[in-house]
């Protein structure tokens, strides 16, 4: 590995501080979980102080995510095309950052409901999100160690046609579509296994689908910003446009097949919410399109 630049070292230190903050968050969660019982009418002073610390930790993580998202989007253009790590970094950073909102919502729910209801489920989700965010921080630190983007601007317009940006855009879209499909199937099976919670299933599915689409939305915005000075025809070169049109054709054909399949499924199992089928077809289409375009961009030797 090359010697790290001072910027990389600063980022790694920031990542280390964020990781320490998250160790604190885990300890604070464990203490609060044990102390916050229905018999406790008012949160203790310790719980209040620990909560302030948690808030600061989330702010630190939010700022770190913004910095890493910037770096990830620059790395996408710099790193040799076909390498998936910067695309993964974009997906993890966007989802990890947005998950702060889920943390806040769950903590707020726990604060309101612990007196009357069992909040064990909320704590489980909170620890699950904590684990995901911790993995994200570790991955971000590793990526900071491996690659430096000093001297490059996020909004710098592209001088030449970029394979890396083109490939990464579809890598992120493919990951988003897979996440979307996983979200839909997970929600569907969860709703079937726990009928008493099925009234929340549609709302949860929509939230998870929006979360899944977020990385793709970020990368498409990035593509637009990078190409803002070019005419639309110049966003891609002729081979890339050729692959996109073939991808479009394959997507339309598979789209018709998926729609026929979804009509058959909805006729056979009348209890299935059409929303599930529609979103499944949508994410499957994004996946087929992205996978096709990526498969046409492979280097064989």
């Amino acid at each position: 590995m090359n010697e790290m630049t001072s910027r990389q070292i600063k980022l790694v230190i920031f990542g280390g501080v964020t990781l320490l903050c998250f160790v604190y968050v885990a300890v604070a969660f464990a203490i609060i979980k044990n102390q916050l019982v229905p018999s406790l009418a008012e949160p203790t002073l310790l719980i209040n102080y620990l909560s302030y610390g948690i808030m600061i930790a989330f702010v630190v993580f939010g700022v770190y995510c913004l910095l890493m998202l910037r770096d990830a989007l620059i790395q996408i253009v710099q790193i040799r095309s076909g390498i998936i790590y910067p695309s993964l970094l974009v997906v993890l950073t966007v989802l990890g950052g947005v998950a702060i909102l889920a943390d806040i919502t769950l903590l707020s729910d726990i604060g309101k409901e612990y007196l009357q209801f069992d909040v064990a489920g909320e704590w489980k989700m909170l620890f699950g999100i904590w684990a995901f965010q911790t993995v994200t921080i570790i991955f971000q630190i590793v990526m900071s160690c491996c690659h430096d983007v000093a001297g490059n601007k996020l909004t710098e317009k592209l001088q030449h046609m970029s394979d890396s940006l083109y490939v990464s855009t579809f890598q992120v879209m493919l990951i988003s579509s897979i996440l979307g499909l996983i979200s839909i199937f997970t929600t569907f099976f969860w709703a079937n296994r726990l009928p008493e919670l099925s009234k929340y299933a549609t709302g949860l599915m929509i939230v998870l689908c929006i979360l899944s689409v977020l990385p793709a939305a970020v990368i498409i915005c990035h593509l637009i910003i990078r190409n803002r000075r070019r005419g639309f025809n110049d966003w891609f070169d002729e081979r890339q446009w050729d692959n996109l049109s073939k991808g479009g054709m394959v997507t339309v054909i598979t789209g018709v097949c998926f729609l026929i399949l979804s009509i058959i499924v909805s006729q056979l199992a009348s209890g299935i919410d059409p929303g599930y089928l529609l979103l499944t077809v949508l994410f499957a289409e994004i996946g087929v399109f992205s996978a096709f375009v990526l498969s046409r961009n492979r280097i064989d030797d």
Partner: protein
């Protein structure tokens, strides 16, 4: 019949030009040059002429028709 080419040889005869250099000169991505060299993609007339202009060669010295052999890429 497919459109064969001498891109690889011409690049090396012209100061060992890289695929990226050629791509930048004709305004396409490096992968497109790679695909043309590997006969995976047939360039448009306009791109083929631009490439021939870079090497200052007649068009038929850069591109030519060849018969597709078994096991060869498209």
């Amino acid at each position: 019949m497919i459109l064969g080419n001498n891109l690889r040889r011409l690049r090396f005869e012209n100061g060992e030009m890289s695929q990226q250099d050629l791509a930048d000169l004709v305004g396409v991505s490096r992968m497109t040059i790679y695909s043309i060299e590997k006969l995976k993609y047939t360039p448009s007339a306009s791109l083929a002429l631009k490439i021939a202009n870079v090497f200052k060669c007649p068009f038929d010295k850069v591109f030519f028709f060849k018969t597709k052999t078994i096991g060869e890429d498209e």
